[in-house]
Symmetry: C2
């Protein structure tokens, strides 16, 4: 599989631009846990994901975290090129949650294409609008949704991503996804267990009543 098949607007680029992209894009595979972007300290460029899973998150001064969005196969990671995007004045962290294979389009090639290709500029715009939508969804969740609903939604989403009803994830990690504290997660999971929605075992959470959990998440 070539980059051309993973880059949606490849056909809209000129022959010259296509060559520029292909000649400078490099392919890389990183193991789960790899730090790919950390504010302006790193500047890899745009990542086109072939396979795997990335996590974009915010970190507080005290080291607390909250997940902003996830990226999967065929997604484009834009903010790893934030060093060449003057108006982006915030710092996010991006790590690989699973072994991930991607093409890197270096910052100067991204800049060159943005400055010269209308199709590329419009596509960048579209990606940013999609991320903006992700963030606004999260903002509404944080602002208006109670924690039980957010946790229920998170568990269901994780099951969908992993294709299982038994999640191997620590309470600590769930807290980092939701921007909460481990104790709060543990307390709520115990409540979910008492209500017959989940079964807690060492290092795992089994969804035993998905329907009830969905009702809670959508309420």
């Amino acid at each position: 599989m070539a980059l051309s098949e993973y880059f949606p607007i490849y056909d809209k680029l000129t022959k010259q631009e296509q060559e520029l992209l292909c000649n400078h894009a490099t392919k890389r595979t990183v193991p789960a846990g790899t730090l790919l972007h950390n504010g302006d300290a790193t500047c890899m460029g745009i990542l086109v994901i072939r396979e795997g899973q990335l996590r974009a998150f915010l970190t507080s001064d005290e080291g607390r975290e909250i997940t902003l969005y996830r990226l999967f196969a065929r997604d484009i990671c834009l903010f790893s090129a934030s060093c060449v995007m003057n108006s982006i004045q915030f710092e996010i962290t991006i790590t690989a949650e699973k072994e991930t294979e991607f093409w890197i389009i270096p910052p100067y090639i991204y800049k060159n294409l943005t400055d010269n290709s209308l199709a590329f500029s419009n596509y960048t715009n579209q990606i940013m609008a999609t991320r903006f939508t992700d963030i606004m969804w999260l903002m509404e969740q944080i602002q208006w949704k109670s924690f039980d609903k957010r946790l229920a939604h998170f568990l269901l989403e994780e099951c969908a991503i992993e294709g299982t009803s038994v999640l191997k994830i620590t309470h600590e990690k769930i807290a980092a996804h939701l921007g909460s504290a481990r104790e709060v997660v543990t307390r709520m999971l115990k409540y979910f267990q008492a209500e017959g929605m989940v079964q807690l075992t060492r290092g795992a959470i089994e969804i035993v009543n998905e329907e009830k959990l969905e009702q809670l998440a959508d309420a």
Copy 2:
């Protein structure tokens, strides 16, 4: 003053594009309190602000509010054209906080320019990145900052915008800006008063120790 002087990339457009812009842009003045954009129900297009003040905010199903950002003279209001931005899948509300004078660039002209002008597309990108930065700042505030710090910051910001140390604003309105409840605002303001930072009178809040308030906001 003409639109050309308020639209930063006017000189980067072709003669034809400049004409398109000027022939279709209309000028309008609205009084304070005017609803300008409400999700996809309205689709005015892009607004170029000549003078005044707009407020973009989120509303919950229960009618609670939180301010996302403000726009002032020479700012561009992009999301009032969200009907022609396919990847924008969230709904915000925009109102005039003060009497505001602006040019409206209709949605089809915005679309036309985005589809054909690289300069315009890149500029749209830049505006969206700036709003994205605003939202990420807010996200960090909501997520990691305690309410006293957020309230202190809000009071100082209002004083800067209004050029006064006596704010004529209700506790209800402050709550709507900060996504909080009136009672929470009132309780915190009384604490600020007890600490000698503000003086509360009927319908007004006077900042009496700006330095102390700044220390709290920055802590």
